[in-house]
Amino acid sequence: MTVESLEADRSQAGRIRSRWSPYVNTARYLVLFAFACFFLMPVYVMVVTALKDSVEVSVPGMWELPQRLSLESFQAAWDKPAIRRGFVNSVLLAVPASLISSMLGAANGFVLAKWRFPGANVVFPLILFGMFIPYQAVLIPLTRFMTDLNLRGGNDPTGGLFGLTLIHIIYGLPITTLIFRSYFAGISDEIIESSQVDGAGMLRTFFFVALPVSLPAFGVSMIWQFTSAWNDFLFGFVMTSTKGWPITIGLNNIANVQTIPFNEAMASALLASLPTLLVYVLLGRFFMRGLMAGALKG
């Protein structure tokens, strides 16, 4: 067989297949399906239990579907101050924390990728290093510091929520900077240069040219930041008083301290996890969209 005919064969088939490949594929999907079921089991129990009447809830019957759909448990969960106030607090925390952190990360990333300054090669690794500092390592000095600033718990009118937001903004910077730097590094230098020649300085190039094309990076960064601020427990626990409790603390308290029916606990947990899902659904579509289309020769 000549080289050409071999190549022709290959391109016709698309790829090389063995005769076992149909069975291999079936097996592969079966295994994946089994894993998916395994991981979704707790979610199933949570959803099913949350939709049950309190009389229907029992440990032996936890795998059964509800006889009758009931949203009572959600109402009951929402009526608990720890959940409702916690939910509002978490929104007040996670929205600014993710927005501001992403904006600052975009600015950092832009400068590090496209407006190289002397020493950028040192600054970037230093910022990245922040990502690898575990929460526990800074916890005690941070508590001390925030107490001295009167931003922690009791002394603060927001119950420590403002200080907690600040912490999440700053702690998020390394990862948002990394996300935006990588994204901007993939944008052609010529677009940035073109804007300079057109008369825009650094700030205007950032706002008019770079920022509009960085929506995918914003999507990623917002999802990441929102999720980590929303799900944080440790900082929330240390930094806030009752008034400023985020929902993670509220959830923990009603589940551990008070004795409440399973269905209400499950409904609370479901409520607490909805916003992160929502953010993913809303912003996830930016992930794949190519916003650079048409800029270059193409």
Binding site: E190, E193, S194, Q196, V197, L296
Partner: protein, 392 residues
């Protein structure tokens, strides 16, 4: 573009001993002097890596100047930021702003310079009309074809009425046909606008057809800066001779003695009255493909050859043959050949020099049939084998 807004109009550009050394020590541009008249169309040409784009980027301010000075008109802009230089640049990739419509792309430079909205809209509309973009104004770049994007990139520069246009291989991403037509359009546009233009290309045909003057660069230094005519007729060295002209000049090693040159065994008179006429030395002889013709009784020295390839192009014919003299293989000719399309480098290396000659199609020529050619002695070029400099 009929009524001029109160701008100063085109200005000249002057480079004085401009050098660029990149971090890491590579000397990309080495002491280039270049004077561009107001309204002139100058082409920088050379093989890739010769520093032509770096020179352009230094004029734009996108690259720091390591040594020397850059003047726009009378103003020393060496240390000025690109946004303050008032030049417009067309990039190879077009570099359109992807999230803006064509209208906003065109108006961006004016907006950044604080041109009032009404004035901006008028100028955008005018340029869009000239370039045939009026029906595309509300599209995003993604919805445009390659040629349309190219025109938007051009329009974005024109609309600003800048002091100078800088173009970095703007046609190289178009297909061959569109490239030729855009080349004509560019010439017309320049005639109409009369703007100072610096144009970078690696394509010597583009350089010859577009440039009022052409600067040939090699390894960061300026080889020759002259009109296309003079570059072709009086190349200052082997590199320029090999780089300019298509098909390229034929070279052969030879020698001069007693007022004649030995071209593959044929004695060809050296122009009288030149220093070379009295010299006795080895030389490299260059012969343009058009400097040979079918032998007639005009008294020109004659050479009998055996064609090895005949390329028929319809109204002209290229005949390729080996001559009985050593092939010229210097850095200069190699660099020039490498810079041209890859198919011009020979697959089969022979030790003998290979010549191409352009002949009319009215006389039949076939491979292997001996053919007698005459050489125009006035159109021979002589170069120093060591330095590559033109002699005579």
């Amino acid at each position: 573009m009929t009524e001029k807004t109160p701008t100063a109009g085109p200005v000249g550009i002057r480079l004085e001993r401009v050098s660029k050394r990149f971090r890491g020590g590579v000397l990309a541009v080495d002491g280039v002097d270049l004077e561009i008249e107001p309204g002139e169309f100058v082409v920088l040409v050379g093989p890739s890596g010769c520093g032509k784009s770096t020179v352009l980027r230094m004029i734009a301010g996108l690259e720091d100047v390591s040594a020397g000075r850059v003047y726009l008109g009378d103003r020393d802009v060496t240390n000025e930021l690109p946004q303050h230089r008032d030049v417009a640049m067309v990039f190879q990739s077009y570099a359109l702003y992807p999230r803006m419509t064509v209208r906003r792309n065109l108006g961006f430079g004016l907006r950044m310079r604080g041109t009032p909205r009404a004035e901006r809209e008028r100028r955008v509309a005018e340029v869009a009309q000239v370039l045939g973009l009026d029906h595309l104004l509300d599209r995003r770049p993604a919805a445009l074809s390659g040629g349309q994007r190219q025109r938007v990139a051009m329009g974005r520069a024109i609309v600003r009425e800048p002091k100078a246009f800088l173009m970095d291989e703007p046609l190289s991403n178009l297909d061959a046909k569109l490239r030729v037509s855009m080349r004509t359009q560019l010439s017309l546009l320049h005639q109409r606008l009369g703007a100072t233009t610096v144009y970078v290309t690696h394509d010597q045909i583009e350089a010859m057809t577009l440039g009022q003057r052409v600067a040939v660069l090699r390894d960061g230094s300026l080889q020759q800066y002259d009109t296309p005519q003079r570059l072709f007729r009086e190349p200052v060295n082997l590199f320029v001779a090999a780089f300019i002209g298509s098909p390229s000049m034929n070279f052969v090693e030879g020698s001069v003695s007693g007022g004649t040159a030995d071209l593959a065994g044929v004695r060809v008179p050296v122009p009288a009255g030149t220093p070379l006429a009295g010299a006795e030395r080895p030389v490299i002889i260059g012969v343009r493909p058009t400097a040979m013709a079918l032998a007639t009784a005009n008294g020109w020295p004659q050479l009998t050859v055996e064609p090895s390839i005949v390329e028929d192009l319809g109204d002209e014919r290229y005949v390729i043959f080996d001559v009985d003299a050593p092939r010229v293989d210097t850095d200069a000719t190699r660099a020039a050949v490498a810079a041209r399309s890859a198919d011009e480098t020979s697959l089969l290396v022979t030790e003998r020099a290979r010549f191409t000659v352009r002949l009319p199609t009215d006389v039949p020529v076939s491979v292997g049939e001996p053919l007698t050619l005459s050489v125009n002695p006035d159109r021979l070029h002589f170069f120093d084998p060591q330095t590559g400099a033109a002699l005579g």
